[in-house]
Subunit: 320 residues, 2 copies
């Protein structure tokens, strides 16, 4: 794996690109031309858990991108389709890791490349301080496994995990990555949806089960419901999402979906609550709470356009 | 019933006060002194379905209020306790109608007066254009019935209904007002909570059951769940809340809870979703969806203070 492409350089993508650029040739494929120029000119600076600066190649033009042995798709789940459709061909003879939240990105990637798809789930985190500076915060693992429908060779998964580990990040190959992915899915779907609907960052309220009205009861029920869906889908969880919630509740972290809702950006709801709701239907079990939160947040996205429609109507009425 | 007091003059209270002042002596008890002065000086103007102007007495001082034969408490449910605790004594020898949304106001009123309590549910609606002008919109009925724990004499309920009807408003006495109150409760709890969480006014989305993600499925499930709680509490509904929802969905009406959420005002959540959640516990049935929405909206109220705490912390950090 002599040439790696990182698709999308938000905080997670920047962490992969910077670390890997220390051990192999790295191309960053990004959306904005200024972003590519800045990366070519200044390279990437990492601060926090690791401190270094590195140079790498970057482009926003698919034609500039050479064929790569490994790609890591690190965009938001909502942007996977748009990005991989532009560069999927460059990875036809390589492997492509999905590093998104939730379920469903692997299928989108597989539809746009003949390369081997690797199911990735990452728990590392960082804060992006600009196009060329990322702060490394949680140095937790990226778990990699085969994408079952395409029978990805396990040797390839191990090779990708070794490469990432050699760059200084934590990575682990697993014969089956779904238990890890589902643990994070259930945790993420529950916490993100509740955070987005209540306006609360991930805080102690999420683990509070004192009074009848306490929010922790709802989190517990969402997580239990998610576990029942996992069991019906024959997935054995790797970690307990309730424990993950209790730890996260100490951080006051504003979740990504809360950020999206505040800025009226498309959320990852289809890949989180929506994925659990659909998997429940597929497995023939009920998931009333995740399905309810899914519908509430889909409607919340609709409300932004609704307000605009109403403003347009009002503007017309007020016109002379 | 020669002297009537209307407690709280929002749109509903103003409609009662203005109409009743045409047939009997009316006192308006309000919170703000300017409001009382304006009513004493200018009286009340009604426009819309009815058009008239009438004079009445008003005060914000409990000591100025004489004993009354009938009171109509028309504040928001969240303000019943504060208002009735100040003037409940004036109604000790009379009757007091609760006109709030949801369940629980009767009990609060009963705790602060020795007067007979009448369970009221109103479907009329209006728009307040200022302290002395209200527009009468929906001319639907107010249903009145005994407050069972106190065995309110039915003759008194009929007398109150006759008085209100004689003033030009629709009113009906019922031997049991709970079927009407619960119909409106289930409708109101479902529509208000969903509207507040999604940011959508009561619109066609609420009755849309086309796709899997459609919001109408959630409304239908909430209403069905509410009906199961009513059945377990041995209440036979007077109207079908799902039909009420379909009709309301044509109005694009911004619900009162959506208004409260937008302005960070205390919502009636305890009296709506919270009431259904607690009644379910009492009746020994599950109400997971209403309970979830109750907890989400309680947490939404918490988030306003949370943001303030965080702003305070940030302000301290930024201080020199």
């Amino acid at each position: 794996m002599k040439r790696v492409c990182v698709v999308g350089c938000g905080s997670i993508g920047s962490l992969y690109a910077a670390h890997l650029a220390r051990v192999t040739e790295v191309w960053a494929f990004v959306r904005r031309e200024e972003h590519a120029s800045a990366l070519n000119r200044e390279g990437l600076r990492v601060s926090g858990k690791h401190e270094f600066r590195v140079s790498l190649k970057a482009t926003n033009r698919p034609d500039d991108l050479p064929d790569c042995d490994l790609a890591i798709v690190a965009t938001k789940a909502t942007q996977v389709g748009e990005s991989i459709s532009r560069v999927g061909k460059r990875f036809d003879r390589g492997a492509v890791i999905s590093a998104q939240n939730g379920l469903g990105s692997e299928e989108i990637i597989a539809a746009h490349t003949r390369g081997q798809v690797i199911r990735g789930t990452t728990f590392m985190s960082g804060t992006r301080h600009g196009d060329t500076h990322v702060q490394y915060e949680l140095d937790t693992a990226t778990w990699l496994g085969p994408f079952e429908p395409r029978s990805t060779p396990y040797g390839l998964v191990e090779e990708a995990a070794r490469l990432i580990a050699s760059s200084g990040l934590e990575a682990e190959a697993l014969p089956d990555a779904r238990p890890a992915q589902w643990s994070k899915l259930i945790f993420n779907a529950s916490v993100n949806a509740v955070s987005a609907l209540t306006g609360l960052p991930h805080s102690l309220h999420f683990a509070d089960e004192s009074k009848f009205a306490a929010l922790g009861h709802l989190l517990h029920e969402l997580i239990d419901e998610g576990k029942r869906v996992a069991a019906a889908a024959a997935i054995e969880l790797r970690e307990d999402p309730w424990t993950m919630n209790k730890i996260g509740a100490l951080t006051n972290h504003p979740t990504s979906m809360l950020y999206d809702i505040r800025h009226q950006l498309p959320t990852e709801i289809e890949f989180l609550s929506g994925a659990i709701a659909r998997e429940a239907v597929r497995a023939g079990v009920d998931a009333p709470l995740h399905t309810a939160l899914y519908r509430l947040l889909k409607a919340r996205e609709v409300s932004w356009g609704f307000a605009d429609e109403n403003r347009a109507v009002l503007a017309q009425r007020e016109a002379p």
